[in-house]
Subunit: 210 residues, 2 copies
DNA sequence: ACCACCGCATGACAGGTGTCACGGGCGAGT
DNA sequence: ACTCGCCCGTGACACCTGTCATGCGGTGGT
């Protein structure tokens, strides 16, 4: 009695409570079924293969291995390893750079966690049908925000600068001369229009540039 | 036909998706009913009065008014205005200081968002029965972490220092002399065992001291 | 009255930071 | 070949920061 075709869903979120709650929400829909749940980015591919999931809901902020550190990396790995599975990013932060990087990594959809709950099921169905799902407001911001002006090195030093460590320690961690680090920081401060490295690092993070 | 007494629940979380998902999860339980949902800390009291909620699930990280800026403040307001309602904090961050402040504000329970989903309903029942619900691991950390060593001014200055603004702007925002700000920062750096104000601010935040 | 403490402030000093000028090397596009 | 941008480094300068000593007024305890 194959009454209705059911969409098989994988849930990836590091917060067990949220994971369970989303499962409850989605299982209310008769045409949706949660077939796998994981709490780490590096567990996604194996669970997707094992469960035959068709749509994967991936949180971006998730712990993982150095190779697959977050949900975006999981989406990229998934696109390579399990092309039949389509990724729908579900994230707290509507950072334009997140959206861009997620789509570049092969994600099919992107919703933020303050979208109304009923829309999630619909987003899952659209993604399963082969459509792209993107928050229109966020898409606008992403285009208006412009591209990432930072070079790879600038981004690297800013990532370390995020927690306010002194230049000497940054230089140590990225294996560069302290003077070079200061040059990169100065350049990044100029590009971001800020006045300290911590401000520059925070702005770059909020834009999704690092 | 009053078959079973039903516990009336208010849900407060700024992320609509999480709110809806938690509602779905709790409504699976026959003895629980979500009777109100809000997305801001300063809407909690009014919604609790209107709905007659008995247990209020409050996220800590929630936008609000200056008087009721977050979930902890909402719990305090609730304890005064609606003593019949009991508060159960549900938060992402298991910061010891959060726990302490939440309990001081009259919350009856405290669970983090990565507790297993089935335990939430049980926590709600316990809180409704008049018991305290506290993550035992977190309770240990809270005791081990010790009390807040910062003075009020030090905490105030650190709050502004969190985003890496220069001393002049901090002084401006807290209405103090730049020299005084530097003294407080130096003192806070000493107390936290760090070496820059940003590190001190981040540590203080993670400990729940600010 | 006295002392201890706290909040707030100033001044001075060493060291860290942001900016600039300048250098060399390397790959990509023209 | 040439230019351009990025990478990496040095050196110098003004300014900001972190630390310390010192001071003054207020508050609370004895």
């Amino acid at each position: 009695m194959v009454s209705t075709p059911v969409i098989k869903i994988l849930l990836a979120d590091d917060q067990a409570l949220v994971r369970g709650a989303l499962a409850a929400l989605l299982d209310l829909e008769p045409d949706l079924a949660v077939v796998a749940e994981v709490g780490r980015a590096d567990d996604v591919v194996a669970a997707a293969e094992r469960s035959g999931a068709e749509v994967c809901l991936l949180d971006i902020e998730m712990p993982g291995s150095p190779e697959v550190p977050d949900g975006i990396a999981a989406a990229a790995a998934l696109a390579r390893a399990v092309p039949s599975a389509r990724s729908l990013m579900v994230t707290t932060f509507g950072r334009p750079g997140y959206l861009r990087r997620a789509l570049e990594s092969g994600a099919a959809g992107f919703v933020v966690k303050d979208t109304p709950a009923p829309e999630l099921a619909e987003a899952v169905r659209r993604v399963h049908a082969g459509l792209r799902v993107v928050d229109p407001l966020l898409a606008g911001e992403s285009l208006a925000g412009g591209a990432n002006p930072l070079t790879e090195r600038e981004a690297e030093v800013l990532r370390v600068a995020l927690d306010g460590v002194p230049v000497a320690r940054i230089a140590d961690r990225v294996h560069l001369s302290p003077g070079t680090v200061r040059n990169y920081l100065s350049s990044a401060i100029g590009k971001t229009g800020t006045s300290t490295r911590v401000e520059a690092a925070r702005l770059a993070r909020d834009r999704g540039w690092i």
